[in-house]
Symmetry: D2
Subunit: 482 residues, 4 copies
């Protein structure tokens, strides 16, 4: 659980906090591409709820429609009907809200230009991009990393490069994590950084055409067939001649393992594995490791439900839903104001006292970040009548923030970077506290450790980002031993 | 499950389709009443997602803020801060959307008047109200039932009656279901119709003051203590002298039993019973009645989760979450346009094939209305690899629409009014289909059948609504034998 | 000149400051009535620049379009095209601006009602209307005089009275000045109070149909033929059977003589006299009375231009335009904020020094209210090089505010109520100052003194408005001898 | 009179029709610069009524506020209060209206850039600018001439050039007419093209600081002292060290003589001459040349008033205002829709029949463009009862369109390019028609012919604009002999 991440939002530059966004693109034939993108964005809503936008191209004209809020709020039948054409891209933005951020809603498109761009990821280093633009007489001020990428690509496109050639030219300049979907009048292009830190996959439309999506769950919603992931370092170009692949760099797969722990939807497939099944394994292995017994397993909804079933199957303890989630309080990340936080976890969770009364309960959650939410959950559960509360976490302690823009707090706010497990248990006032081991985490994926970015748990980053003062966002980071 | 109800929305007068709304009121001392109402409306969001409004009174001035969409969308810190004062009421509206409906967003308040009103319920007969107003020279055109109630109350208030006396005067004229919360500068009033068809309860604020809420779950969110329900036929008045009760009519409790089946949140208490526990009993009794066995129980999320656990406990079959709900597609009721419906249930549900592959599965849902959703779920589940699919419904067949505004389709669209259980099973292509018995439904509540309105299942209405052509909404109703 | 009136706006109830509005109505056959009203409102723009609205009726549906600002700003081709039908009315509102006033923009129409209303005039006494409404259970709070009239008429219409009968019923309750244009689905009605204080005339459309307008200049713009004025106390009803007249009261013509002095457009005809020619006579008689000589006559544009030509013709002194008016600073009345007033008359007037250099000049203005503008004009003219400045005013001293809502300051702000002519001359630092005599004013109209309301000059009001504390607006009024 | 120019608006590229705009800039000390600019824009409203904008710089932050409509409509007290700082520039845009044009409202400012720009003038050739930008990788699409200038200046500024150096670098690339006012955080810069085709002058604020304005009349409104004109080819830089002048090119004064005929406000000074007095001379010389006698001189308001007084003084015929202008129908240029044009001149002018009845009248107008307005005026005047109508024009026949963006029709729409004077007289049905001679026009200015651009009358352009197909706007131009 990373619910507490929200608190750090206001103390950071909002421009760069958008790694966990959702991107989607469609190149079809005689389809309303924008409408398909709209469905895809619904399915990717969990990756970003701040704002949403769709660009489509029709007869030489690129149109863009954007707005703040959920997909269901941003678009109307009439706005969709304005987005004509059979190629379209879309973006759900995850980040802090605020009027001044409206200008950063993606897809990015500059009037009179020949292409639009949607970006999921984060470039921790952008000084090279800024310097490049300045050297060309193009103003980089006020542009976030995604917009800088757009401006540099645009520089080449205006000079006459094809969009593919512009991407090839610029790819080496982009340092960080990025899944890009680009669209021109008659082309759809997907690009993934050399480490494949964020997910991006390819689907096929039955009536000719291709789809790119952050997660495979969004292919299902429009009946597109899953083909494969875009490879790290790969550019995939779709046009009227079909799909072509270009290796822009020798890629090394380094998917952020947090996608399995928490970010991705359970019905998505990552690296060939169904997220739901990996999460169940997390629970099963946690049961083997922790060996905690009790009367009932209570998942913290929704992300820890699969792990709870895994634990239950392994430990033969029944699951029950004693914590009721308010479906309309979306991820804590976007909670608007301090005053709302005072009621804390009550805004999101309520208890069914009949389920807790006199019981020894195992509460399963996906992660602990600051510890404040866990503390409140334990209190809630005890107030509801539980006799004993065991807190079980289906991932290892989060000891490191990351460099790629998932909106983590500074390291000194991470409880596991500052306390031992026993100290945390004492702080949250649980009767026992168990984390899944790092080994158990890897085992649950059924894949090699080499395939993952595990920064949050190990402090190891795949990309060399050089001197600290070059870095776009993070401060006060100290590498500590696990 | 009543997901198909949505389809009838456009063929009906939208003005009257708002029975299942949420209302909330606060009378405090030195509290920001509007902010507490805001929290309450979050907790009642499931009762209405179309629009929301709050009125508060401060120093002789009533202010109202309203908007279309979810609570999280309508209000901002700055709009809340404009709603000063320690008495406030709020309303979540459930109904079809559309620009022209914006004018009907509640609370109702006419500029220059002395009170505001929020209404949950429906008056099937309003001709008497219209005629009364015309006789007084007040224009009833363009007003829905809630607004007619307001205008008549206002007539008396302008003539000098106190708000309580106006309510007493008007109460006999209001024919139908209504939970009203009214607010003047220095008073908060709750009124419930003589049959108590919709829920309404009283809470106590610790720092002096009282709260009224459609459901008790909204008391928890602001740490208010549950006191009791407002009685059928009762008016409760809160002012600086505390709480006073008036019996406006001899009430007979007739709560709509669908509140237990589907409408209410599981953590609410109705008639002294926790909704979650009643739903578990529905599952347990269903297991005893149906005796269906299989490999795994799959709840149709979210409303059938408790019944699934009940069935599981009784039948010793494990629950697993094979159907993943898109959290951002709120109740089917508010689906915007025909074009979205073509993708049908895919917008809301996706499958985890690994859970279904080769299994005999028990799918548990709360109800069947038209049957089209059930048919699609069976298809989804089979496509995901299930060997056999048993559909189990934790309520009896819905054979009758209702007169009170829950947005049910005409009777000829209710599949159980037109087909036998076997015909339905055949239509939805399940391997077996079982409904809970009516007797089992009553038994699960642990309460007497006399306490309920059971129209959907029995066709019996508590209120005499006389000639058919007087009725506000429904047509083509034929009483059939159960 | 009444330019200084603006200063009192903020210290008065804005609701009642709308006497000098413009109203216009069209009943035609196969015409776009709203478009003709639009043209009419352009021609009446000088009577109100704060806001504008048009209502039209088409097939049982009354539509209204309103906005703040000038006619040219409020309407667009597309908004006009929504106002279908061959009967329409319009209103230009003159008053202080401000967001909170938007709700008072006319025509007045209550949703679901059967008629719309536009009002030019002012009811100084409305307590009887308020009491009537309260006695009927209709809330009068927050309604200005026009809206109270609408509500009472609506009371009778809802009770089943025809619109004409409702007017007959209510006419005796309306105490003050009012030109009303009312419109139902198939009727256009004009009503004028018994004293005819504000102007209202009838025109004929060539292709069948009639027009009502505050001034005849608006008939010219749509090529309607001037027929006659609506008589004091008369109701004129136009429907498919043509025009019918009803005498609701024995009227006595008492036109506000200030319409001739300043309000009306020079090309309008009032009481059979062209305003421009009356103003020229004002100048001619002023020349005879004042006998001031000099090098050049300088009109204060625009209202004193005709009087300047009159003076010139009589005194054989040439006119020249030494004061240049900023065409885009509309009447001082609507100047927005204090900060703008600091630059004073400079915002509106600039000088051509070549015209003043070394000259003895006669500056002609239409009136002096507070004296501050005159003082600044004298200063401007002297700074431009004039050797001597004679100020000549084409009306008598304004010594009394009025009860009918022309936005005059309190009596203690009227310079002529507090100073002798010589004291004023001294204050404005002119070399001489001459007012037209009251007798000269009457003589210039060519009409009997009996036909006019002359309150500003004589303190005599045609209507008995009883006790001071009943009066809607004015305070601190003391009758002084002329 | 150039009122008919409007008709050609829709057949031309709207982007380039903005030569006759108004620009204003303030560099002060402890002043609210934006507020002073606001006053200046009021005074320059006659140069552009379509839209208006102000940019100000405060502590490193440039803020811009823009809107469609008149200055009085665009700004509010609160919008002005947001524009902090003691350096500011503003722009009134004259052009066709329409939603799509909103993006072109000036001042131009690109977010994150270091300067803002306001432009009055027109570049007939921009292909060189477009090519330059493309060669630098900057997209020129969708940019009008002003925006292209901004982009090229920005290119140099981003590369590190000071704003002055950027202007020096770019000046030779700008081919056409341009008065530029530029502003950075701490500098105000004015630039005028080498021919000084549009006016631009310098004023001094008493409390330190300088002002630039299109016309001197806007200096008067804020009590700034007129210093001198910006010279053709000059750049004037104001910063904390005061004012510095740079000669960017050897300038040759070639002011558009139409500024004297019609464009400028009469109280402005151009080339040392008061516009009003030049216009009076036009009338005086016209009287000498035409020698037409009659009973009364009728000016077509407002621009021909001074010439009418000049004629009157010379010919000893009295002036009277028989044509009344609707003050709220601003220059014909911005008339919105075809449907409004059907009522033609009636929207703008009405007659006082008493002035015309039985008279031989001399109607004086400033110019004839298409002839349609003159024709309608003659008809109006005859319908008002005139016995004879002599049309006198205080400028020579307009036989050539211009290349600099004053919104003239194509040459084949200019009546004087296609008809002799007698043919025009016949067309407009006047009893006689007289134009001022070209010689008389020059004489009236009291200046040398060399100082003027006289394109409309002579077809001679000061700038070599090479091949026809390079030209931005005009087509179908044929040089004809005068």
């Amino acid at each position: 659980m990373v619910k507490n991440f929200s608190c750090s939002l206001n103390s950071l530059e909002s421009d760069s906090l958008h790694e966990k966004c959702g991107v989607f693109g469609v190149y079809g034939k005689d389809v309303e591409a924008a409408r398909l993108v709209y469905y895809g964005l619904w399915a990717l809503q969990h990756r970003g709820q701040e704002s949403s936008g769709i660009a489509s191209a029709n007869e030489n004209l690129i149109s863009v429609f954007k707005g703040e809020g959920l997909v269901s709020h941003v678009y109307t039948e009439s706005s969709l009907s304005l987005l004509k054409g059979s190629v379209a891209i879309g973006h759900n933005r995850y980040s802090t809200s605020g009027g001044s951020c409206a200008k950063h809603i993606q897809p990015i498109y500059e009037e009179g230009s020949l292409f639009a761009l949607a970006h999921n990821g984060n470039l921790p280093i952008v000084t090279n991009l800024q310097n490049f633009l300045i050297s060309k007489g193009i103003n980089p001020n006020g542009s976030n990393d995604s917009e800088l990428m757009y401006k540099i690509l645009n520089y080449y496109v205006v000079k006459g490069y094809s969009l593919e050639d512009a991407v090839k030219k610029c790819f080496p300049m982009f340092i960080g994590s990025f899944c890009l979907i680009l669209m021109s009048e008659n082309k759809l292009i997907a690009v993934r950084d050399s480490y494949g830190i964020r997910p991006l996959c390819i689907g096929k439309l039955n009536n000719e055409g291709y789809v790119f999506s952050s997660e495979s769950c969004a292919l299902d919603i429009i009946n597109a067939e899953y083909v494969r992931e875009v490879n790290p370092g790969e550019m995939v170009v779709v046009d009227k001649n079909g799909l072509k692949s270009f290796e822009l760099a020798k890629g090394t797969q380094k998917l952020d393992i947090f996608e399995f722990v928490y970010f991705a939807r359970p019905d998505s497939i990552l690296l060939g594995k169904r997220v739901n099944e990996v999460r169940k394994s997390l629970g099963r292995i946690l049961a083997k490791e922790a060996r905690v017994k009790g009367d009932v397993i209570i998942p913290v909804p929704d992300s820890s439900i699969p792990a709870s079933f895994g634990y239950s199957q392994q430990a033969k303890i029944p699951v029950d839903f004693g914590l009721i989630k308010n479906r309309y309080v979306h991820r804590t990340f976007i909670k608007p104001a301090q005053s709302l936080r005072d009621l804390g976890v009550k805004m999101k969770l309520n208890t069914i006292p009949e389920i807790f009364k006199g019981k020894e309960v195992l509460v399963i959650d996906d992660s602990i970040v600051r510890g404040t939410t866990s503390k409140k959950i334990v209190e809630l559960v005890k107030n509801a009548g539980a006799r004993k509360v065991h807190m079980l976490i289906s991932s290892p302690p989060v000891r490191y923030p990351d460099f790629y823009g998932i909106d983590t707090p500074d390291q000194n706010e991470l409880i596991a970077a500052n306390m031992s497990v026993e100290e945390i248990r004492n702080y949250i006032e649980a009767d026992s506290l168990h984390f899944l081991s790092y080994k158990g985490l890897i085992e649950a994926t059924g894949l090699s450790e080499n395939l993952f970015t595990t920064t949050h748990f190990t402090g190891i980053y795949p990309i060399d980002i050089g001197e600290r003062n070059d870095i776009n966002i993070r401060k006060n980071f100290v590498k500590i031993s696990v």
